[in-house]
Amino acid sequence: MGRVGAIMSSIIEVKGLTKRFGSLEAVHGISFEVEQGEVFGLLGPNGAGKTTTLSMLSTILTITSGTAIVNGFDVAKQPSQVRRSIGIVFQEPSIDDRLTGRENLEMHADLYAVPGSEKGKRIDELLKLVELEDRADSFMRTYSGGMRRRLEIARGLIHHPKVLFLDEPTLGLDPQTREHIWDYIMKLSKRENITMMLTTHYMEEADKLCDRIAIIDYGKIIALDEPKQLKGDLEGDIITVKTEMVEELSRKLKETNLVKDMKKQKGELKLIVKDGDKIVPRVMEIAASSGIHVESISIHEPTLEDVFLHYTGREIRGEGSEEYHGMAQIKRRSIK
């Protein structure tokens, strides 16, 4: 079987993709396309179906229904061609601790049949790119979490994949290392002329890295656009009012025409408004005249966090435990 469609600008085409585990539907018929050379993000909370989607696209999981084409190959029917076209950086560590960094890369090159003449050069080049050439011959267990990630990114690129999948590339890393990894990813996307698809639940990460973002929740895509556009959709500013009397204040504000949309949370009211700086004094007036005590009030431009809240009515990091989880995984890795 050859490629599907001769001319195409979309390197990934997903139509009605669904995954069921028993009675649980993890991904509900999602559709999207990823353009060649794009950095595409799947943003959503834990358990939204991001990793499941990525696992189907990378042939790790079978597809329940729907179709997915990667680099012109059907994921369900041509898995080995798909595997040759992609590189993956998994969410959990996936390197061999008892081998050195270079040995891990060499093994990958052998598994993907990278020509012997090119192998050494390519490995050196990538080690340099992720700045690990000095540590190449140390055992992996002496690497820090950030170094492991960098090596995994380098590994995913050895065989010149057309698409690089990154599943939560900075999960469990400290903020400084995270920014470092972001720099590498941005550098790579320019240098290697590669399409990247990443999953994340970090708003900042999606905002910084992605050309386009699909917001995914409960296995469905609820919004898909450029980060700027997504934020622009909210058309206005976000006012956050901290008060004990959320219900009262929201009732009062509803009576006016000031607010486009609002989200109630415990001890906090988020308002989406036009011309925020003019609205703030009015909100204060209303609060004062109704005897509502306001602890603080702030105004900012919409972030992806607000976008997510707007579409789902929830904060993305509801549980807050996954960060610890990620750390534990990396710790467990080094204990072994």
């Binding site: 790790i60 595997r83 993956i88």
Partner: protein, 252 residues
Amino acid sequence: MSEARGIYTLWLREVKRYTRERTRLISSFIQPLLWLVIFGSGMQFSSSGFGQLSYQEFIFPGIVAQTLLFTSMFMGISVIWDREFGFLKEILVSPISRASIFIGKMVGATTDAVIQGSFVFVLSFVVGIFVDIQTYLICLPIMILTTFGLVSVGLTIASRMESLESFGVIQTFVNLPLFFLSGALFPLTHVPEWLRWVSIVNPVTYGVDALRIVILKSAWTPLFPWQYDLLAICVFDAAMILIGTRVFGQRK
């Protein structure tokens, strides 16, 4: 060609990992030594009925087989580590076929087990047999063939197991019964009829018998002609490799 290269690199990984584990290498000397010296000499009191053979000489080939059995089962099951620590995913998403992954793992683990089994030969002086190089070289293919099937059993079990916690279960229900009912430690002349039947379907029985034929030479009265032994081992290997490649790494 690319499949062969994949198999080679997986084999290389197993061997590298194995040879880098110093403590394992040391313990691989100690365990058979304990069996031969302590168990072997302690049991001398009861057995005098092996013709010209001492009890230690009698169990020596059995201890070789035991080392192969335990090591290959352990190495096979070690795939669970690979899964637990995510490494298996890296292999499973690579373009090489599941069958090649299985073969690579199997050949690698077999190499480790056979190296470990070969250490036991170094200890042959302890029981006063002094196995010469030639005898060892004849034993080598028997060891390799026996191990292929056993590693495949380990790999197959591992691909169905969720965690290493059930390793003890394997020890209880696979390793020890296969070991005890192989004739490695005692001839199976006094066990009940149904257990003797178990020993006949036990692949290790044939490995032990074949090793005894080669090592103990005319001092040992074979249970089966050596050709039968080898045939039984090969049938077992073929069946287990077939099952293993089917079961291994099935996608959800």
